[in-house]
């Protein structure tokens, strides 16, 4: 009797296991072991210049995966392709084992609802209030008004802005704006959260508070996060795994601790050296 209870207790304590064991929380089609996000052999060129040259990576559900590299390395293009904001010239994207990169029209819209995107410049709708911004993805998904109001209230509270819900989005500080953007990105309960330099426009203290928020959201909802950044501190603070990208190629990847302690690539060694000197 005692033995029989153990796996259940373990599952309740660990949010990652929770997500994997409750079937309706994961995608119904794929086997349970398929990664939340898989990128296979993505290439993209702008004119003669190859921005991405066959990039592959996969992120297991519930992990925070950092993509780091210098400006112009192809990080932003990669995250825009992975989040279906841009199309690749070749390769495939899978969300929980389902290919989404070829989706068009209605399918594309459905696929986009499975992912949330947080931008460097927040990109809030200035014609709307905080609540109005968070409500937009729900309106788009056809929720009714009462359901939207309840969900918005819940989300605004989640990011700690309940007292500012009716303010115009433009009248907030940078950190508050990014919180609104995170609430908006999570409105449709996506499986994956894409963050493109989400903290690069913020001061160090606000950066920490936003990272802590993302970390706690992952813990609570088993969210999978792909995080593009040029800040090593961001990777060190919240990422589980990291990939270093240089000239459109992933030059090395693995758990943060091992990549940081023994970088095998030239770019990796230089990035790590910079942090240690700073």
């Amino acid at each position: 009797m005692f033995h029989a209870k153990r796996p259940e207790q373990a599952a309740l304590l660990n949010p990652l296991v929770l997500v994997q064991t409750i079937p309706h929380l994961t995608s119904p089609v794929p086997p349970t072991n398929s990664p939340a996000l898989a990128i296979r052999d993505i290439s993209k060129r702008f004119g003669p210049h190859a921005v991405l040259d066959g990039v592959s990576l996969s992120i297991p559900a519930g992990r925070i995966y950092g993509i780091i590299g210098r400006s112009g390395a192809g990080k932003t293009t990669l995250i825009r392709i992975a989040s279906l904001l841009e199309r690749a010239d070749g390769g495939e994207i899978f969300y929980s084992g389902v290919s989404v990169s070829g989706a068009k029209g209605k399918e594309l819209i459905e696929a986009r609802r499975k992912a949330g995107f947080v931008f460097q410049n927040f990109n809030l709708f200035s014609s709307r209030t905080v609540a109005g911004n968070v409500a937009f993805p729900l309106e788009a998904a056809g929720w009714n008004k009462t359901a939207i109001r309840e969900r918005v209230e819940e989300l605004v509270e989640l990011v700690g802005l309940s007292d500012k819900a009716d303010r115009p989005a433009g009248r907030l500080s940078g950190g508050e704006r990014q919180r609104v953007a995170i609430a908006r990105a999570l409105a449709n309960r996506p499986q994956i959260l894409f963050c493109d330099e989400a903290t690069s426009a913020l001061d160090p203290e606000t950066t920490r508070s936003i990272l802590d928020l993302i970390q706690s959201l992952r813990q609570r909802f088993g969210l999978t996060v792909m995080m593009v950044t040029h800040q090593m501190e961001v990777v060190r603070r919240i990422c589980d795994d990291v990939a270093i990208i240089s000239d459109g190629l992933i030059v090395e990847s693995g758990p943060v601790a091992s990549v940081f302690s023994r970088p095998s690539s030239e770019t990796g060694r230089r990035l790590v050296a910079e942090v240690n000197h700073a």
Partner: protein
């Protein structure tokens, strides 16, 4: 004084009718053209923006050609069209046809450029929210561009007040017609002054209303 008022009341109403009717018609047609051009050329909203760039270039040329047409000439050129649409080429209603056509390319440009001003990131955010293009347009793009659209519409209406004065040439009525027939041809300086003053008041009124709406919209952001 009473006589001036009696003479001027009807032309004022005619001018207002011409301006409002042609702004509405130009807004509908020109606005749709502007929207189409914006959607066609935006790489985030159109999968084929690359291939459509030729269509866009042709449309740009046509719009610029129409915009550079002197209104007096345009008015004469579309006389047959007025006859076809409203049954006559004379009078206030007939004048609405050339006025609308003259304002259409202008409105198309205003709509297109107001939308194009919106930061691409806003579009990214709306797209990643999983919204259809129609919803993005009406729930995000139009509200975001509203101050600039209102400012553009104000400009259109003021231009149309000026154009409508020229419509007097084809018997269009309105304040311009009054100024020419009474003020100029019959040497009635008082009526000339009254007509010009009325036009100034109309223009000021439109500008002030436009400014106020734009300012209020911006205050709420």
């Amino acid at each position: 004084m009473r006589e001036i008022f009696d003479l001027i009341a009807r032309p004022v109403l005619e001018t207002i009718l011409m301006v409002i009717a042609s702004t509405t018609i130009a807004g509908l047609f020109g606005g749709s053209i502007g929207l189409a051009l914006y959607f066609m050329s935006n790489e985030r909203l159109s999968e084929h923006s690359g291939q459509l760039s030729i269509v866009k270039k042709v449309a740009d040329r046509v719009i610029n050609t129409l915009r550079s047409f002197p209104f007096v000439i345009l008015m004469v050129l579309v006389l047959p069209l007025s006859r076809l649409i409203v049954g006559t080429s004379l009078g206030t209603v007939a004048a609405i046809v050339p006025l609308s056509i003259a304002a259409m390319p202008f409105v198309a440009r205003i709509v297109e450029s107001s939308l194009a001003e919106i930061d691409g990131g806003i579009l990214d955010a709306a797209l990643s929210s999983g919204a259809t293009k129609a919803r993005i347009l009406f729930a995000i793009l139009v509200p975001e561009a509203l101050p600039s659209l209102i400012a553009g519409l104000t400009l259109t209406m003021i231009n149309l007040v000026g154009y409508s004065a020229m419509a007097g040439v084809i018997g269009g009525g309105g304040l311009g017609d009054l100024a020419i027939r009474y003020g100029y041809q019959r040497f009635r300086t008082d009526i000339m002054i009254a007509s010009v003053l009325s036009i100034i008041i109309l223009v000021e009124g439109i500008q002030m209303t436009g400014n106020r709406i734009t300012r209020n919209l911006k205050l709420k952001r």
